[in-house]
């Protein structure tokens, strides 16, 4: 025989302040939990989104990042001739030989400079990487023109259209802003590879990005390129390459989130224990009556556990709501593989919110267990005396 849940809800209503405080304690833990994981999530999402499984990134053999890599023009021509590469609307292969450098540009607010990726690309890159111009236009071939990823436009000075940004001993005219589906590319400065090549590292590309006609052909392509005696390159799926760059930082953030919130959770559980013990002791006669009426101790245990879980559930929902406004807020950190700034948005996903509520309910059940146990084992005679 179950004790109706309404009994618990009414009891909770009897002591609104105590309930609210316990729930608030839980909600703050859940808010921190959700917020920190949203940070880790956002960072990973930005980097993972950067790579598409249908794209392949070719680097010099042994290079762990684009920064360490180098690919000559001859190698690039050999790679671009592979028949597995898709062709664009204009009939040219979807291959983008890229110049990759990290430059210092001044911040918009305050002093100091930050490292930002400058990427020299060709016209095909827009199709290969799925880039859209959101304001202005593309850079024109042969000119000192650049376009800027939309995430870093507000973060750095001289990035508005028509402004001039100075780096590598030349002035570059900003002609457009671009969007790349929220990926890390939106934290980059793009110009033409032929313009970037002479001012940075000379006659060498850092990477070649290509689009496959069929993503399944990756293994064949990899074997062909890596087996070619004329080339010393390695091919990776672009998605795997960028996912790899996010693992270390994501792991650190997740570790921190779990550490901090578990310590906080212990504190919140203590709060729940206090509340439930007080509830049990102030309702001793009621519990005795319930037992006398024939409700088995099992039901009393379940009833008090449910009450504790309900309070924590309220806290979990409130915590999710508290954390919700940070969704979409843009922050930045450094991609330590390229030593460059990556701007990304906090990402509060439905899964994360559900996780937060489950976490809260677990706290409630753990905190409610011993008080509920005491309630279930009350001696009717003693309690009523």
């Amino acid at each position: 025989m179950k004790i109706p849940f309404v009994y618990n809800l009414r009891s909770i209503g009897q002591r609104p302040v105590s309930t609210a405080m316990t729930a608030l304690g839980v909600s703050l833990v859940v808010a921190v939990f959700v917020a920190m994981l949203a940070l880790a999530n956002g960072f990973r999402a930005a980097l993972v989104k950067t790579g598409s499984p249908g794209n392949v990134i070719v680097l010099r053999r042994g290079a762990a990042s684009e920064m360490e890599s180098g690919i000559s023009r001859e190698s690039e021509r050999l790679i671009a001739a592979d028949p597995r590469i898709a062709t664009g609307a204009d009939g040219r292969p979807l291959v983008s030989p890229e110049v990759f450098v990290v430059i210092n540009i001044p911040r918009a607010v305050g002093e100091g400079v930050n490292n930002v990726v400058a990427r020299g690309v060709n016209d095909e890159a827009f199709a290969v990487r799925n880039i859209h111009i959101v304001a202005g236009r593309k850079f024109e071939s042969g000119r000192s023109e650049i376009i800027i990823g939309k995430k870093i436009v507000p973060r750095f000075a001289h990035t508005a259209i028509g402004d001039t940004l100075r780096f590598a001993t030349r002035d570059w005219l900003v002609v457009g802003h671009f969007e790349a589906g929220g990926s890390a590319l939106e934290s980059e400065v793009w110009g033409e590879n032929e313009q970037f090549m002479p001012v940075f590292r000379g006659e060498v590309f850092q990477s070649v990005i290509l689009r496959l006609t069929d993503p399944a052909a990756f293994d064949d392509l990899k074997r062909a390129l890596e087996g070619d005696q004329r080339l010393t390159v390695q091919a990776q799926r672009e998605s795997a390459f960028y996912a790899g760059q996010s693992t270390v930082l994501t792991r650190i953030l997740t570790f921190l989130a779990v550490m901090i919130t578990s310590v906080m959770a212990v504190g919140a559980v203590f709060g729940a224990v206090n509340t439930m013990y007080a509830a049990v002791s102030s309702r001793t006669p009621e519990i005795a009556v319930l037992l006398t009426l024939g409700f088995p101790p099992r039901s009393v245990l379940a009833s008090f556990l449910a009450e504790s879980a309900a309070i924590a559930f309220l806290g979990g929902v409130a915590g999710g709501l508290l954390a919700l406004p940070i969704n979409g807020i843009v922050t930045s950190t450094t991609n330590w593989n390229s030593f460059s700034e990556v701007a990304f948005a906090f990402r509060v996903t439905p899964g994360l919110l559900v996780g937060g509520v489950i976490f809260a309910v677990v706290m409630g059940v753990v905190g409610g267990f011993f008080p509920a146990w005491r309630a279930a084992r009350l001696q009717v005679v003693q309690a009523l005396r």
């Binding site: 302040v17 304690g25 703050l28 210092n104 504190g267 709060g271 206090n274 950190t333 450094t334």
Partner: protein, 380 residues
């Protein structure tokens, strides 16, 4: 003071509640101290930076080198007392999972510029006189388990090939915030093996007078503005700070979490105090009847809240201090010299006092304002 036994007796009535609330405060202050120390440790790196040293890097980015010919021109700038240079080697050791920083440095001038790098005299001689010798931080020696005199092979990524060095000296930093896990070797060796391709990554300058830092920086940057490698000159402090900001807004993140922790524990302690006060309504009325003043009753509740929160803080803050000092925690190498500073402890106790007031004030006021007649009627 003579009422202290009463306060303690009250606390003993709900032993479990008192214990849990105290432990809750302990956990919260422990977390607070840990989070705060991340911020202070990161900033300490910038704080200990010498005001009389400056760094010169390529204006485009630090990954681009500067010509070797700059050393004479930099040395000739008025106000510059000494010049040294270094290069980031970026090699991998073993399976590549043991990461540590390797720098190619000009040994004599580098050690002269950084007296914080303390090396036993005999070992220093050995390091200076052998071309392929390496100078390794004490922390790194212990982490990897190397011995003095051992050969170590590092696989170059920026400068390809296998590079073998002999460990001839071990350094111990004299300031806590300095990294003790670096690997230093002779720049000349790198320069020659790369056919003079590896020009300096950056220069470090010793100023004769720190107050001239701004004008020296201006002179240098103006001197190279129209060369093939324009420079950016900044103080060591600014350089270290820009490195700290690269992590992102750590300070804001840590402070926000710290605030959330403090508020969460405020809820727990305030709730405990309110429950306690509510259960004792009748008693308070009796105490008032036998002559306790409103002020004394207010004080009794506040004292109870203070005892709980302060003993929690002693446990939490003291625990953090001892734990981190005892284990030599350094954030897996990311936070050298991790330390709970006295300022952090003071701040922690300050917050605890606020916590005591905030959690005790409502029940204390209620006790002080309680009307005897109402209260005694209430409990039948």
């Amino acid at each position: 003071m003579k009422l202290l036994p009463l306060v303690l007796a009250n606390l003993r009535r709900h032993r479990l509640r008192t214990l849990l609330t105290t432990l809750g405060v302990a956990l919260a202050t422990f977390l607070f101290a840990s989070l705060r120390s991340v911020v202070t440790t990161l900033n300490a790196g910038a704080e200990v930076a010498s005001a009389s040293r400056m760094g010169v890097q390529n204006a485009t980015a630090i990954v681009f080198p500067l010509p070797l010919s700059y050393r004479e021109r930099l040395a000739a700038v008025p106000g510059v007392a000494a010049v040294t240079w270094a290069n980031w080697f970026g090699g991998l050791y073993g399976d590549g999972k043991t990461f540590f920083a390797q720098f190619a440095v000009d040994p004599e001038t580098y050690l002269a510029m950084y007296p914080e790098i303390s090396v036993p005299p005999g070992q220093k001689e050995a390091f200076l006189h052998e071309r392929t010798a390496a100078l390794v931080g004490k922390g790194l020696m212990e982490k990897v388990g190397w011995r003095l005199g051992q050969d170590v092979t590092i696989r170059g990524t920026i400068y390809p090939g296998d590079w073998t060095f002999t460990i001839r000296a071990v350094y111990t930093p004299t300031v806590r915030a300095m990294d003790d896990r670096s690997f230093l070797f002779h720049y000349d060796y790198l320069y020659e093996r790369t056919d003079h391709r590896a020009t300096p990554g950056w220069y470090a300058l010793q100023l004769s007078d720190p107050s001239h830092a701004a004008s020296v920086a201006q002179t240098i940057d103006a001197m190279f503005r129209n060369s093939s490698a324009p420079t950016k000159t900044m103080t060591e402090k600014a350089f270290n700070q820009s490195f700290v900001t690269m992590w992102g807004n750590v300070q804001f993140l840590m402070n926000s979490i710290g605030m959330a922790v403090v508020f969460a524990i405020l809820m727990v302690t305030a709730n405990a105090m309110m429950m306690t006060a509510r259960e004792r309504t009748g008693e308070v009325a009796v105490l008032k009847t036998i002559g306790f003043t409103d002020r004394t009753l207010f004080g009794l509740v506040m004292a109870e809240a203070s005892v709980v929160t302060l003993s929690g803080a002693v446990l939490g803050l003291g625990g953090a201090k001892l734990l981190y000092a005892g284990t030599g925690f350094n954030g897996f190498g990311f936070l050298p010299g991790f330390d709970v500073t006295p300022a952090t402890l003071a701040l922690g106790f300050g917050i605890t006092l606020l916590l005591a007031v905030a959690s005790g004030i409502v029940p204390a006021l209620r006790a002080a304002r309680l009307s005897i007649v109402q209260a005694l009627r209430h409990v039948e």
